[in-house]
């Protein structure tokens, strides 16, 4: 392992640890760990002249457990299975309405602002988890790299402001909150809302999975109609 990789790993772990401490001490959207640690790392990398390419080997090592960590969401899901089964119908309708509204409004707004067709196709997939977003974006004529960026921004936004916005909109039911975050802000939102409660985390993880299935089935025929 070279020095830059080692430095990148130490930096990332330290930034994450610090952001978590700050999040506990000063609770605010700006201290959302995924946002704050990303900003700190980008500033340090830019300041020390390390490019994202130099950082990539460290990224590969550190994201090695992302797959197993997503699989691990099955455990809170299992613990909350009774609630989930009982609320299958509200969950289905909420997820369907929310996903369609996100896709349609994103595509219409890209057209309103005269952005390119490829931007619209990349924006249409922004609510779902990255691997699905990239595949579906490719299917409907989007740019996979741009789609990945939009996914990241949607996730960050959901993690930072989602819980607060839901409270403002008087969505207080923990089940509905988890569903809303998982549907619109995938894993990044889930990572945040799981801190609010195990039920929210479980529902969010399930919604993330369901939204990715729904999107990959519906978008290829819906997108050309918009």
């Amino acid at each position: 392992m070279n020095t830059i990789t080692l430095f990148s790993i130490v930096l990332t772990v330290a930034a994450y640890g610090l952001a978590r401490l700050l999040a506990v001490r000063f609770s605010s959207p700006l201290t959302t760990p995924v946002f704050l640690s990303t900003v700190m790392i980008i500033l340090v990398l830019a300041g020390s002249g390390i490019t994202y390419q130099d950082y990539t080997p460290a990224k590969e090592i550190m994201t090695y457990l992302l797959g197993p960590a997503t699989v691990a969401l099955a455990v809170p899901l299992y613990h909350n299975r009774d609630v989930l089964l009982k609320k299958a119908a509200p969950a289905f309708w909420g997820l369907t309405a929310g996903t369609l509204a996100t896709v349609v409004s994103a595509v219409w707004m890209t057209k309103m602002f005269h952005l390119t067709e490829a931007t619209a196709a990349s924006a249409a997939v922004k609510s779902v988890t990255t691997p699905v977003a990239i595949e579906v974006a490719r299917m409907i004529g989007g740019d996979p790299a741009l789609a990945a960026i939009f996914v990241m921004i949607a996730g960050m936004f959901g993690a930072m402001f989602g819980p607060w916005l839901l409270t403002v909109m008087k969505v207080t039911d923990p089940f509905a909150r988890g569903l809303s975050i998982g549907t619109t802000a995938h894993g990044i939102g889930t990572a945040q809302i799981v801190q609010e409660g195990s039920l929210q985390g479980a529902v969010s993880g399930a919604a993330m999975g369901a939204a990715s299935i729904f999107t990959s089935l519906v978008l290829p025929w819906l997108f050309p109609l918009l």
């Binding site: 990332t12 994450y16 990303t38 980008i42 990398l45 994202y52 950082y55 990224k59 550190m62 994201t63 457990l65 797959g67 197993p68 960590a69 997503t70 699989v71 691990a72 099955a74 455990v75 809170p76 899901l77 613990h79 609320k87 119908a89 509200p90 309708w93 909420g94 997820l95 309405a97 929310g98 996903t99 409004s105 994103a106 707004m109 890209t110 602002f113 952005l115 988890t129 699905v132 595949e135 579906v136 960026i149 990241m152 921004i153 960050m156 916005l165 969505v171 207080t172 039911d173 569903l179 809303s180 975050i181 619109t184 990572a191 799981v194 985390g201 919604a207 999975g209 990715s212 299935i213």
Partner: protein, 134 residues
């Protein structure tokens, strides 16, 4: 010491299920990524009592708690797109954030409305001796 072995064993087991999920997803050309397939597989194994929840609980709790960490190195990739974000940043921001807010409001609102109606209905029907099921 025994605990840390247990911990590593549990995370390795989750890793195995993840690999199996990847394999299933690719083999059947599913529109669902391997990590979500793995999540569904583990949920089924737990529900069917083939895997006891104690076998994975400690490792899963740790990974759930630090799920955000694994997204940080990926999010750092945003640094390569600063010029694009500067160019049409405002339009993109309005579009991305606006549609997210609309989606969040509808998902949460519809789910909350329907589930509160549903539980009211269920309470009402308790009196007439049967449960309403969906």
């Amino acid at each position: 010491m025994k605990n840390s072995y247990l911990f590593v064993a549990q995370i390795s087991f989750l890793w195995l299920i993840y690999q199996f999920g990847l394999f299933i997803s690719e083999f059947f050309h599913l529109p669902v990524p391997g990590n979500v397939v793995g999540m569904i597989i583990l949920f089924l194994l737990l529900s069917l009592n083939i895997v006891k929840v104690g076998w994975v609980e400690k490792g899963a709790q740790f990974l759930n708690k630090h799920l955000a960490f694994f997204f940080v190195p990926i999010a750092v990739g945003l640094m390569t797109y600063t010029s694009l974000l500067k160019e049409s940043g405002l339009a993109l921001a309005v579009m991305l954030l606006g549609s997210s807010i609309i989606g969040m409001a509808l998902t949460g609102g519809v789910a909350q409305l329907l589930s509160s109606r549903h539980s009211k209905k269920e309470k009402g029907e308790d009196a007439s001796e049967h449960h309403h099921s969906i």
